[in-house]
Point group: C2
Chain length 254, copies 2
């Protein structure tokens, strides 16, 4: 029998640029009588928006001048040309532009709508970008948590991505530290001794997805603590969520 539990963290204030997010998390944990103490076996999942806000990865639409390409795409897809320019600035390539949807490959390599640029939970007239280096952000936050508490839980940064073929969004891992993002069973055996050829679990994405169920979307609870998945936590920071990205040359849907 295996078991785990996920709990949202309450009491975190609105995050502003330059703030010490690790310290605010530790303070919120200390102030929450129901929260367990941090441990090296835990996983902290953090919605990317608070990372982006603390890092200043925010753009004011007022200061954006759309290029001819942005103007054209905005007209075709019925969007704000300045917002389209911000999306283009975050992208290596446009994967699809149709039905009012702009799907791009970001400079990190993520394939998602609008390069992950988002107005929800942003201030008026502002857009929130993805963190520039989400794996680096996860490593920094983990190191800072360890400095403050002596514990190094696994840290995972999530965002909600749409999917090909299926409605709705699921949260996925865009950055992580101290977590094995993939659990490779290829070559190992199933319960009847048969070798598993394809079983390769996207643990990072499953963890991100479950954390989103431990909070309501409008609850202002960007941090979720998971107990019971310590088998995926490592002392080393590991490869990060970048390991979840399939190389474009191997991808059948680019």
């Amino acid at each position: 029998v295996t078991s785990f539990a996920a709990t949202s963290l309450s009491g975190l204030p609105e995050i502003r640029r330059g703030e010490d997010l690790a310290k605010l998390i530790v303070q919120a944990l200390d102030a929450d009588p129901s929260a367990k103490a941090l441990s090296d076996e835990q996983i902290l999942v953090i919605a990317h928006k608070v990372i982006s806000k603390s890092e200043g990865a925010v753009v004011a639409l007022d200061g954006v001048t759309p290029s001819p390409r942005a103007l054209e795409l905005a007209r075709e897809q019925d969007k704000d040309p300045r917002a389209v320019q911000v999306v283009l600035d975050q992208s290596q390539e446009i994967v699809r532009a149709a039905n009012g949807v702009l799907i791009t490959r970001t400079h990190h390599g993520f394939v998602c709508a609008n390069a992950g640029v988002d107005a929800s939970n942003a201030a008026a007239g502002e857009l929130i970008l993805l963190p520039r280096d989400p794996d680096g952000s996860a490593r920094s936050l983990r190191a800072r948590l360890q400095k403050l508490t002596g514990c190094a839980p696994g840290v995972l940064i999530s965002d909600s991505f749409g999917r090909a073929w299926r409605h709705g969004q699921c949260d996925v891992a865009i950055g992580c530290a101290g977590i094995a993002p993939l659990d490779d069973w290829r070559g190992r055996s199933d319960s009847s001794g048969r070798v598993l050829h394809a079983t390769w679990l996207a643990v990072g994405d499953a963890i991100a997805g479950l954390a989103d169920l431990a909070r309501a979307k409008n609850s202002s609870e960007p941090v979720v603590l998971i107990d019971g998945l310590g088998r995926f936590v490592s002392e080393q920071d590991g490869p990060g969520a970048g390991a979840l990205l399939r190389a474009p040359a191997e991808d059948l849907f680019l």
Copy 2:
């Protein structure tokens, strides 16, 4: 603060055709001292293979005669032509055939590798198919559980699907009853009062994905119980996991 917990169910025997799966689950729950009693607030997630086995959705390779199309595809993709024939029999259309990978759209409408046909956890020389009507299977299992226990937990049937652009697999919902598969926040407001335009959570898939983390792949624990997500459970069986499928005409990656 929101919180939930997921626990695998131990003690379920190997499932054979025609067996009363609901009864076996109830017996395993009764025999497990650590298991909570069933309730209308719980969600049971069941790996599709035990559903398929109980329904006889299994094919012996010996009895399969590959068509010319199957022989051609098998040669091109270096596969067993009989297995390719089984995949074609389960498919409406081939979406991609490349790099030794066969991605099809099944008769249900799922886009996945090999139409979900799988040799792992199967008997030698056999392949396990997806259940013919997974939403119907979920409804039947739920009704049978209610008859046996008086409780109607949410029931979700899962399978592991690969994804475009990202490595590894995540479990998704292929059938469900009594669970809202999608949680639509479009038109509702975020914590700062801004209307959310795109937020539409694939709850069914997130639940499937988290359940897979509550068991090891070789643990013979196909059933996972989730407590704390009762807000997604309804008395009505609801639309089922079919609601998660995007219509081909609206899809940008078919």
